[in-house]
């Protein structure tokens, strides 16, 4: 074979991630980098496509029936409804519609759908969510767990600290009505327990979306809506 030029450092790392040889810590670093750098994410995706045909060599093995039964049981009811409402809401924000209009529109949008089979909030229900990046491949940037006993959301930021001192990460919950409620500021690279105000407890239900927006220091100037871009989104699900 003729000599090929060496891969750039970024591409070599992307290829190694696609191949699957990286250690646990390196894998996390690669995934974060994919979330932060669309060019790097594209390199990884291109390598996944290049290597994918190798998997065709594996002889298929039919899984036992029990696996489908378990999948079917584990599917959150109408899981995607909250996602659609959220996307709509984000679109509305981007178009600079007034918040009231966005809220009403989102409510109508949700209302026009068949009744959502979202489970009612159950006291004592532990919930968790993985908030994944909104550009490039879905990579977790924050993980959150709701502890109903402490009435607190335990949030871990996987974002490297001190990379963007001009902005803060503000956390929002968007329940099935599509209206965002502010939950507080997440410090990059830390785990913190955020006590939840009583009035927001009903919002912390299975199927509600958690979203993080990029805001000026101190948080969104508006109390009921993010003003910056949404960097990560996830849905609360039973643990």
């Amino acid at each position: 074979m003729s000599e090929a030029p060496d891969l750039s450092e970024a591409e070599a790392f992307a290829a190694e991630h696609a191949l699957g040889v990286l250690s646990a810590a390196e894998r996390r670093a690669a995934e974060l980098r994919m979330a932060q750098e669309p060019d790097f994410a594209a390199l990884v995706e291109a390598w996944r496509e290049r290597l994918a045909p190798m998997a065709d060599q594996l002889a298929p093995v039919a899984p036992p029936y029990g696996v489908w039964a378990a999948v079917s049981k584990a599917l959150p009811a109408n899981d995607n409804t909250a996602g659609r409402a959220l996307r709509f809401w984000r679109g509305a924000t981007a178009a600079s519609l007034s918040l009231a209009a966005a809220g009403v529109a989102a409510a109508i949008f949700v209302g026009a759908r068949p009744p959502a089979v979202v489970q009612p909030p159950q006291p004592g229900q532990l919930l968790d969510a993985s908030l994944v990046s909104q550009s490039g491949a879905p990579v977790p940037l924050f993980v959150a767990a709701y502890d109903p006993v402490r009435k607190a959301l335990i949030v871990t930021s996987l974002v490297t600290a001190n990379t963007d001192p001009a902005h803060v990460h503000e956390l929002w919950v968007i329940p099935s009505d599509g209206k965002p409620r502010p939950l507080g500021i997440i410090k990059p690279g830390t785990t913190q327990a955020m006590p939840m105000p009583e009035k927001y407890l009903p919002s912390l239900a299975e199927g509600s979306a958690l979203a993080v927006s990029l805001e000026p220091p101190g948080g969104s100037p508006k109390v009921d809506a993010p003003t910056g871009p949404i960097t990560a989104v996830g849905k609360l699900a039973k643990i």
Binding site: E45, A55, P63, V71, L75
Partner: protein, 184 residues
């Protein structure tokens, strides 16, 4: 096995899954689960754990179906990537040296399967295999092992009784050549 196995049919299924249609997920499962189970099984080499991961994989597909972008990846690559990532994450949880000792029965297919695939000529699989077969045997084998078993450089180095840096440079050189060959 469902009929929906062409790329277009799978793509159409994915958009129905994205709208929350369970029947579509069921069809996608029927069309792809044997392939994905093979992927999980090969990496984890533990049936029970592979079944567990496979379940997570389809729940993940259900949750993320709305992110699937047909313009950026094929359905098979997208779902296989989820299966590989989940399995590798599970494997890493066992430690960096998981499977540093080769499991004999898991010997990966090498030249023989490659030769069969060559006969299929053309097609993406044929091209990749052609290019793999142009690498020296040791490099091709280490790349295949890494892909199929999802083991770390560290485990590969231990297995081959070779310094980690050397294994790493074999793989990197091999991948660069592979890319050059695929672009020819």
């Amino acid at each position: 096995m469902a009929a929906a196995t062409t790329p277009d049919a799978l793509s159409a299924l994915m958009s129905r899954v994205a709208t929350g249609e369970r029947a579509a997920l069921r069809q996608l499962y029927e069309a792809t689960s044997a392939k994905l189970f093979a992927v999980c099984l090969r990496i984890l080499s533990d049936r029970e754990e592979a079944e567990d991961v496979l379940q997570e994989v389809y729940v993940t597909i259900w949750r993320r179906a709305d992110r699937f972008d047909a313009g950026r990846a094929s359905v098979m690559t997208w779902v296989s990537t989820i299966a590989r990532n989940r399995s590798i994450d599970r494997l890493r949880a066992r430690g960096p040296l998981a499977y540093a000792d080769q499991v004999e029965e898991l010997e990966i297919p090498d030249g023989q399967v490659g030769a069969e695939a060559l006969l299929e000529a053309k097609g993406e699989r044929g091209r990749l295999n052609n290019c793999l077969s142009e690498l020296d045997d040791r490099t091709a084998k280490v790349i295949r092992t890494a892909f199929f078993e999802g083991v770390t450089y560290e485990a590969l180095a231990r297995r081959m009784d070779t310094p980690l840096g050397t294994v790493k440079s074999w793989v990197r050189r091999g991948l660069a050549k592979l890319k050059g060959c695929l672009e020819r």
